[in-house]
Each structure stands twice: as structure tokens, then as C-alpha cells.
């Protein structure tokens, strides 16, 4: 009888519903959001694994996702159950053992990817799909509850971003801007799937910002929303990074600042109304999406406590904004760059003339792949430092005259290649709040993006790379303390959670989900 009671208790735990209060508090035993918590600091408060014992980490289980090619999903963990996705699929796993509980496979098994993860709220799992739908599943058995169309897949839209749940709303972004499709951000009723609001990232005629697009160029303008943003519950403001304008490399046909591309926007979470915006790269011609995750930090800045937003942009600059007002407080490059002489007092870049794509090709640093990209950054409140993956390198950017063709055709007006003079090189960099480099960890032989970083209260920074290595660094020094070869390129960010008293580290690596914990002799 006693055993039975225990079993019932455990079962109840695994089936507990996620409430808004859970989402707000974000118990460190769980990993409830794409970026861990609403503030997107990616800092786990678990501290069983520390700088002193990280060398004892060992692989606990590996779950192979059948048919996967390159997973970019960040798992969600709720009370011992892990939800991991790939396009049109969700796998629910026992987070302690890696055993499959249920899987959902939507037809057709489209490979258009990636899918970056799910959100869980109530007893529902939410996922975007390659044909631009929002799907709600029952978290207990994977049954399909409902699905709604976000946008027309036949137009070329799709939904790779992980949803973000705020109160009873599911916030969903959209892709791609490279096809000349205008972006937006949606809120859906978490229970019914009804759309509650839509904010258009490209202002329509009569809306503020439309004047920043020459002629009709706003009609095929991009500005997608393909990474998950962050949220400040006190201000009730939703922060989201906006993608590039289209065509990517030919600015001649879309003269103007091209709002709200290459910006971060603050929206009222209830209504979707724009509160403020800050544009990192006005009139971008290098495909430098500003979707990189806005990290919300409360810390003293210039002598007084402030509500800050930290942002490492694909254009090579690190920014600090006041997230109440959008005021620019600081900006400084975190990689070598050749396109801006600096930022003016308002944070607007002072362009170097001529560093724009040309028919012959123009050397541009950072390259279009960017100084950083989808790889999540982290903030450790103990060190007060911002950690991000940075790519040093240049590209040769070319342009042409392109024509918008509906139906999901690329509308980029050509592209870029790696500059032949020196290969790209990946780093993990620790910046203080003012952007000053504290340490860097060169990922030797890593020349392409791997994964983002995870900070833990144990004083560690975990990072995956394109060579398949998961490495634990000392958050204070950048020294490598432990590493594991997962065997395949890592493209998803690590997470941490706790089950049965054990702190786990886990991530998607290539075609597998891999979980680690301290070696316990079993």
C-alpha cells in the first residue's frame, strides 16, 4: 500500500499542470521556457554541479530522434518530463532515464526546419510547424487538441520559433524574411487557439514607420520574428528581435531606414501595441537579423539601478538599453568590424562609406553569418557578466537586381561568401555590463556556429560547438573544466534541470538528445 501511494504521488507530480505562476517563478528544477525564464538570462540556479566537481560529469542517457538531421530544439522540462521537438514532431521523455513516453508525428513528415522547441502551459504542449500552424497537444499523451493556421504556407511562411506563453496567451513568431514576406508577431488564446492580436513588423500605409520605406518597397519587406523573445512581467512588456529587410543585399530598391527591421521592439503583452523600438542597423544591407535574444537584467548602470536590456547583435555590436523607455545607454563592438566608425550618442551606427554589397563583392566584417546569431547568450548575476558566442570573420558580399516572386522564393538579391584571406573563428566571450572583454575562450578549429551558452549558479558556462563538443568553462576565467564529444554538430543550447535530487545538463546534439549528471557510481 505504501508503495502504491508513492507511485501515485510520483505520477501526480509528473502530470501537474503548468500555471502562469509556475512560468513566472520558474522553479530551477524545471526548464520551462526556451531561455529558461522570462528574463532570458539562461542562468540556472542549480548548483550541485560546480567548478570543483564538473570533471565528474558523465553521460546519463542518449535518446536518438529517429529521422533527425540536425536538431536545434531546446528541450522543455516539466516535473521530470522532457519535451523535445523536431519539425512536425514532439517527443516526451522521462528526463531521468531518456525513455520515450509518447511521441507526436504530424503528417506530412516535413523536414523543413529547424524547429527550435515547444512551450508547455496547463496540460498543453504548443509547437509551430513547417507549414506555419500552431499545434496544441495534450502534455500527458500527445493527443492533438487543436491546430490553427498562423499564415499561408503556400505564401512561403513557416514557424520555426519556440512559442512563449504569457498569462493565457501563446506568442508566436514567423519566418522567413529572406523571401520578401512581411513578418509579424501573434498572440493566441492558450485554451482555444483563437488569435487575440497581431503586430506587423513592417508598418502599413498610415502607420508610423511606413515612411521609412521608399515607394511600395514595404510590401515585400521581410522583418521576420524567428527567435523567441523575452518578457518583463512588471512592465507587462514583451521584447522581440526583428529580422532583416528584403531583398537582403540590395538596398537601392528600399531606400530609408526600413523600420522595424533590425530592431528590438517592446510590445504591450495584452494588446500587442508598440511601446518603443530601437533599431540596431538602419537600412541594413548585410542580412544582419536582429533576432538575437534580448536579455533582461536589473542592475546598477552608470551609478543607478536600472531595468536594462542586454543584446549582442549580429552586426558586431553589444548594446545596453533601458528596457522601460528604449533609451540607448551603451554600445561597443565585441568583434572586429569594418562597417561602422562607431555609434552616435543615440546608438545609431556611423557608417563607413562603401561597405555595402557590390556586383564585384565587398569585404564586410562581420560576415553575414554574423558576429553572433541564434546561439543564445547568458547572463550570470553572480559575476555580473554577459556571455555570448562570437564569430570573428569577414565575408565578401555581393548584390544583384532581384525580383520578388510570391510562393516562398528567396528574395535576397544575392549573398556572401567567406572571405578567403582568413577563416572564420568561433569564440565564447565574457563581457562586463559595459561590454569590456573579461575573458575569451577560442573554440579551436570551430569556424561555424555551434550552440549558445548556459550559465549555472555552480559558476559554470556550458557551451556546445560545431565539432560536437559540450564544454564546461569556469565562468570567472573561461578555463575549460570538462568536455564531452557528443559525436555530431551541436546546434541547440544546453539546459539544466533536476530530477530525483540530481542536477542534469542536457542538450540536443546532432540527431540525439544527451543528458549528463555527476557520476554517482551507478
Amino acid at each position: 500500500m505504501k508503495t502504491l501511494c508513492l507511485a501515485v504521488a510520483a505520477a501526480a507530480l509528473a502530470q501537474s499542470q503548468v500555471t502562469y505562476d509556475h512560468l513566472l517563478r520558474a522553479d530551477p528544477k524545471n526548464w520551462l521556457h526556451y531561455s529558461g525564464q522570462y528574463h532570458a538570462q539562461r542562468h540556472s540556479l542549480l548548483k550541485q554541479v560546480t567548478t570543483a566537481n564538473a570533471h565528474q560529469l558523465s553521460a546519463k542517457w542518449i535518446y536518438h530522434v529517429d529521422g533527425a538531421r540536425r536538431l536545434e530544439s531546446v528541450p522543455i522540462v516539466v516535473d521530470g518530463v522532457m519535451y523535445v521537438s523536431q519539425p512536425n514532431e514532439v517527443h516526451a521523455l522521462d528526463a531521468a532515464t531518456g525513455r520515450l513516453i509518447w511521441e507526436y508525428r504530424r503528417q506530412p513528415a516535413l523536414q523543413k526546419g529547424p524547429n527550435r522547441g515547444v512551450a508547455v502551459y496547463g496540460h498543453r504542449v504548443y509547437m509551430g510547424t513547417p507549414d506555419a500552424h500552431l499545434v496544441a497537444l495534450d502534455a500527458r499523451n500527445g493527443s492533438l487538441l487543436w491546430e490553427v493556421e498562423i499564415a499561408k504556407a503556400s505564401d512561403g511562411y513557416w514557424s520555426p520559433a519556440a512559442p512563449l506563453v504569457i498569462k493565457d496567451k501563446v506568442i508566436m513568431g514567423i519566418a522567413p524574411g529572406d523571401h520578401g514576406l512581411n513578418g509579424f508577431l501573434d498572440a493566441y488564446d492558450a485554451t482555444t487557439g483563437e488569435r487575440l492580436w497581431r503586430w506587423h513588423s513592417i508598418p502599413r500605409p498610415g502607420e508610423p514607420g511606413n515612411e521609412t520605406w521608399a515607394g511600395d518597397s514595404w510590401k515585400t519587406a521581410g522583418g521576420d520574428t524567428w527567435l523567441t523573445g523575452s518578457y518583463d512581467p512588471e512592465l507587462n512588456l514583451l521584447y522581440w528581435g526583428i529580422g532583416n529587410p528584403a531583398p537582403d543585399f540590395d538596398g537601392d530598391v528600399r531606400k530609408g531606414d526600413n523600420l522595424f527591421t533590425e530592431s528590438v521592439v517592446a510590445l504591450d503583452a495584452n494588446t500587442g501595441k508598440l511601446r518603443w523600438y530601437f533599431q540596431f542597423t538602419p537600412h541594413d544591407v548585410h542580412d544582419w537579423d536582429s533576432v538575437e535574444i534580448p536579455v533582461l537584467v536589473d542592475a546598477p548602470f552608470n551609478g543607478r539601478p536600472r531595468k536594462l536590456m542586454l543584446h549582442g547583435d549580429r552586426n558586431g555590436f553589444y548594446y545596453v538599453l533601458d528596457r522601460v523607455t528604449g533609451e540607448f545607454l551603451h554600445g561597443s563592438p565585441f568583434v572586429q568590424q569594418n562597417w561602422a566608425k562607431g555609434l552616435d550618442p543615440k546608438g545609431r551606427p556611423i557608417r563607413v562609406p562603401g561597405v555595402i554589397p557590390s556586383f564585384q563583392g565587398t569585404k564586410t566584417c562581420p560576415a553575414t553569418s554574423g558576429a553572433t546569431n541564434w546561439m543564445s547568450p547568458a547572463y550570470n548575476p553572480d559575476t555580473g557578466w554577459f556571455y555570448l558566442v562570437a564569430q570573428e570573420g569577414c565575408g565578401i558580399n555581393t548584390k544583384s537586381r532581384d525580383t520578388f516572386r510570391p510562393g516562398g522564393n528567396a528574395y535576397m538579391a544575392t549573398g556572401y561568401i567567406e572571405s578567403p584571406e582568413e577563416p572564420w573563428q568561433m569564440y565564447v566571450r565574457a563581457l562586463d555590463l559595459k561590454g569590456k572583454l573579461q575573458w575569451e575562450y577560442k573554440q579551436i578549429n570551430s569556424r561555424r556556429y555551434g550552440a549558445g551558452v548556459l550559465s549555472t549558479a555552480g559558476g559554470l558556462i556550458f557551451v556546445g560547438d560545431d565539432q560536437g563538443f559540450l564544454t564546461a568553462l569556469d565562468a570567472k576565467t573561461g578555463k575549460a573544466l570538462w568536455h564531452f564529444n557528443t559525436g555530431r554538430q551541436i546546434s541547440g543550447q544546453p539546459i539544466s534541470y533536476e530530477v530525483n535530487g540530481h542536477q542534469f545538463l542536457a542538450l540536443t546534439a546532432g540527431v540525439n538528445v544527451v543528458a549528463f549528471a555527476l557520476f554517482d557510481g551507478k
Binding site: F359, D402, T403, D465, F469
Partner: protein, 469 residues
């Protein structure tokens, strides 16, 4: 060096002919002595015939081509001739007195004296011999399954006529006839045979000519040591007239694009590898013929045939070295590769050579001719991945020099200049010193004579394994 000079003077070497690549037939060949299939149109001619023992008269040329498939070797001769005559109709008769074409084949280059002959006159009579060290039969030989057609096939005789212009022989020889001497059956990509193509006979303006020159003092076609080299290639014959296309391109397209496929002021470089550029023959044809809507690229008024030639040119500037006959003496290049150039110390071709540099057995299918030249003459800004030279000093004092096959923050996999693999834990390395320059010398433009350099490039331009089509 002087020894070589003296030897050369004492035994003058015959002029040599470049190896001929026999490409795969792209489509079925109908033996009708017409040669109007695209297969023959796209096949490469072997080049002008040589009049070895010329005294006087007209040098009437022959356009000979070869193709192959798994079953047959195909040969065609198109013979300029203002005086066409033949009268031998008896199997194995003396056809070489008539206007006649011949092919003599040594399937084993190491046993060049084992050769097979096929002689066919213009009215379709054939003579065959099997001159091998294993043949014990009669002086003549009955090959299996040979099929052919000639312009005056089956006639009792052909007399000279005032409207004689040219005649054709089209021949298919089943490859199984050579199974006893050939290395592989069917041949594999890169297999080398030796053979010669000949033409003889006639009454008025009787001449003898051959593809591969016959070294003096021999005055006979039966000189297998002089046979030319042929290499079986799995590449499918397709040879648009790139030179004509280049002229058309430069005359019609350079208002926007650059000369010779370079970037222009208003349009991109067509020779570049850009993902937005049209690639296939059909895509390029359509882009030129119809223009690219919404861009400055206009529709061309040129006739289809000329558009096709421009397409051929654009594809040619994107093609790799194997796609074209490189100038220069490949045989000399092969010597330089192994000798003076010291290339084989680091590079392997066909399983022989050094291991520290890239294997070059397929390099002509991977690189453009200009890239090969640049590799020999222009230093790279950074050593290529997998070939970064490094000097490692280990904590125990040992030193390793080599190239990095792989590395990360925790280990190094080094192929040493001692040809050994060194698998190094980075924690055991006292120092890791990356050399700035690749081990590949870039001064062959100075080290070699122009003939040697083009020779090496010609040799490299023949190095190809099977290509994905």
C-alpha cells in the same frame, strides 16, 4: 645534364602526340556512315593526321573520333578525298591498296607488341589480324561481333569521280575481343591503352597518314612502339563550341557583364560560383533567350544556335580542368612531377607518391585549370584546412612537425613529415606553433621552365576518376 643532351642527340625522339581521352558515348550510335548523331558531334577529334613519309601531293586530312560504352569501342573517320576508289571485296583481302582506314590496338601498354588490327576499305571490306604472343591461329583473325558501315558499303567497286569530296567509316568493335590483354573489361576510368589510327591507299594522290607519328627509321604502320596513348574516361562526351561562344559573349554581353566572364559594372561575374547564378544548360539558355524578368538582363535576339554556344562558353568557364584538352606535354609533366618538381614527394596519384599533401588522382575533376596553375605559382594567404603546418613540442621534449588533420581545444591529430600519425593530447604539448605558410611551394613559375610548368599542368589536367554526372 650533358648526358641527357648527348643521348637526345644520338637517338632523336619522335614527336609525340598528346594522350587522347576516349569519352563515353552519351547516346546510342547508329552505324550508318553518316555521323550525324549528337554523340559524334560532341566527341573530340583526335587531331590532325601526320604524313610521316610525305614526298609530294595534297595532304588530305582525316577527322577521326572515338567513343566507348560498356560493350563497344566506337571509331569514326571522316576522310577528305577528291579521288575515292576501291575494288577489294574479298574478306581479309589487301584492302590497304584501296582508300582504306585502319586502327591498330594494344590493350596492354606494358605489352605494346600484343596488338589487333582492323583495316576497312571504302566499299566495306575488312582485314583483321591478331598480332599477339599468344595467338597460334592463321595469319588472319576473326573478331567477334564487329559492326561497321562505310560510305560506299557493299559496292562491287568504287571508281574515282569528279564529285568525290569525302567518305566516312563508322565502326563498333566489341571490347570483349580484347579481354585477354586488357587490364579491365570493360575498361575503367583512367585505363590507358595504346593505339594508332591510319589512312592509306587510293590511286590518285596516294598518301599514308597516321594519328600518332611513327618514329623513324620505321616506315611501317606496324610499329606499336609508336602508338599513341588513349585513356578511357567515364566522362560523357559533350563539347559545346566554347571558343565561338566566347566571341559571341564578348561581343554581345559585355555592356553589362565583364570580358571573358568577369564581373562587369552592372552585372555579376558569370564565371563565379554563386548560388544565385543559373547553372544548368536549360536555365542558362532560358536566361539568355528570355532575359531575367525584373532585372537589367534583357532577352537576346540571337538565334538559338548562337545562344547555345554562349551557354556552352559560360558552362566552360565554370568547368574543371578535365573538361578541356590542356596545352603542353603531359608526358614531360609526368616526369617533372616525379623528378624535378618533387611533387610526388608529397602528393599521390593513382596510389603512388607521398602522403602529406592532398591526393591528386582526381584533381582535374575537382579544380579548374586556372586554379591548378594558381596552386603552383601563387602563395595561398592561409594554409588550407587539413594541411595547416604545425610544430609541436611535447612536454617530454619530443618534437613533431607535420600538418594538422584535425584539432580542437583538447587534442591534435597530426600527420608528421615523418609520414607517421601523431595523436596528441593538448595537455601534453608544451607548445603548438602554427606555421603561416603552407608546405606547398608556390614558386614553380620560377623553378620550372614554361614548358615544364605547362607540362605538369597538362599532366594534372588528365587526373580524374569517375565523375558524377
Amino acid at each position: 645534364m650533358w648526358i641527357l643532351v648527348v643521348l637526345a642527340a644520338a637517338f632523336p625522339l619522335a614527336a609525340q602526340v598528346s594522350p587522347y581521352r576516349i569519352e563515353r558515348a552519351p547516346s546510342r550510335i547508329t552505324l550508318d556512315a553518316r555521323l550525324d548523331e549528337p554523340a559524334w558531334r560532341d566527341a573530340t577529334p583526335v587531331g590532325d593526321f601526320i604524313f610521316n613519309w610525305f614526298e609530294s601531293g595534297d595532304r588530305e586530312q582525316t577527322d577521326a573520333r572515338m567513343l566507348w560504352d560498356d560493350d563497344n569501342l566506337y571509331v569514326s573517320w571522316r576522310c577528305q578525298d577528291r579521288h575515292i576508289s576501291a575494288q577489294v571485296t574479298e574478306r581479309h583481302g589487301p584492302v590497304s591498296r584501296d582508300d582504306c582506314v585502319e586502327i591498330f590496338i594494344s590493350p596492354n601498354p606494358a605489352k605494346v607488341r600484343n596488338y589487333y588490327t582492323f583495316e576497312i576499305n571504302v566499299i566495306g571490306t575488312m582485314l583483321n589480324r591478331c598480332r599477339t604472343d599468344w595467338w597460334t591461329g592463321p595469319p588472319t583473325w576473326e573478331p567477334e561481333g564487329v559492326q561497321y558501315r562505310t560510305t560506299y558499303h557493299g559496292r562491287a567497286r568504287k571508281d574515282e569521280s569528279s564529285d568525290d569530296r569525302e567518305w566516312i567509316v563508322e565502326l563498333a568493335i566489341p571490347l570483349r575481343n580484347f579481354a585477354r590483354d586488357a587490364a579491365h573489361m570493360p575498361p575503367r576510368d583512367g585505363d590507358e591503352w595504346r593505339l594508332n589510327l591510319q589512312r592509306t591507299g587510293g590511286i590518285t594522290n596516294r598518301q599514308n597518314s597516321t594519328w600518332a607519328p611513327i618514329a623513324p627509321p620505321s616506315k611501317s604502320f606496324h610499329t606499336p612502339e609508336s602508338f599513341g596513348r588513349v585513356i578511357f574516361s567515364t566522362q560523357v562526351a559533350a563539347a559545346p563550341n566554347a571558343e565561338a561562344g566566347r566571341k559571341l559573349y564578348n561581343a554581345n554581353c559585355t555592356a553589362c557583364h565583364g570580358l571573358d566572364g568577369a564581373a562587369g559594372d552592372r552585372a555579376p561575374a558569370l564565371g563565379a560560383q554563386r548560388r544565385y547564378l543559373r547553372r544548368t544548360e536549360a536555365e542558362l539558355f532560358d536566361a539568355i533567350k528570355a532575359g531575367i524578368a525584373g532585372t537589367l538582363m534583357p532577352a537576346s535576339p540571337l538565334p538559338d544556335s548562337q545562344v547555345r554556344e554562349i551557354v556552352g562558353y559560360i558552362r566552360s568557364i565554370r568547368a574543371t580542368a578535365i573538361d578541356f584538352a590542356a596545352p603542353g606535354d603531359a608526358a614531360l609533366g609526368r616526369e617533372v612531377f616525379a623528378g624535378k618538381g618533387n611533387c610526388a614527394a608529397c602528393h599521390m596519384i593513382g596510389g603512388r607518391g607521398g602522403i602529406i599533401g592532398p591526393d591528386l588522382s582526381n584533381i582535374a575533376a575537382e579544380r579548374k585549370y586556372e586554379d591548378l596553375r594558381a596552386a603552383l605559382t601563387v602563395a595561398k594567404p592561409v594554409p588550407p584546412r587539413g594541411f595547416q603546418p604545425v610544430r609541436v613540442t611535447l612536454r617530454d621534449g619530443r618534437r613533431v612537425r607535420g600538418v594538422i588533420k584535425n584539432e580542437n581545444n583538447f587534442s591534435l591529430q597530426v600527420l608528421g613529415t615523418d609520414d607517421k600519425l601523431h595523436l596528441i593530447d593538448r595537455s601534453q604539448a608544451a607548445s603548438v606553433e602554427y606555421e603561416k605558410q603552407s608546405l606547398m611551394p608556390a614558386d614553380y613559375g620560377k623553378k620550372l621552365t614554361p614548358a615544364e610548368l605547362t607540362g605538369v599542368l597538362a599532366y594534372l589536367s588528365t587526373q580524374s576518376r569517375r565523375r558524377a554526372e
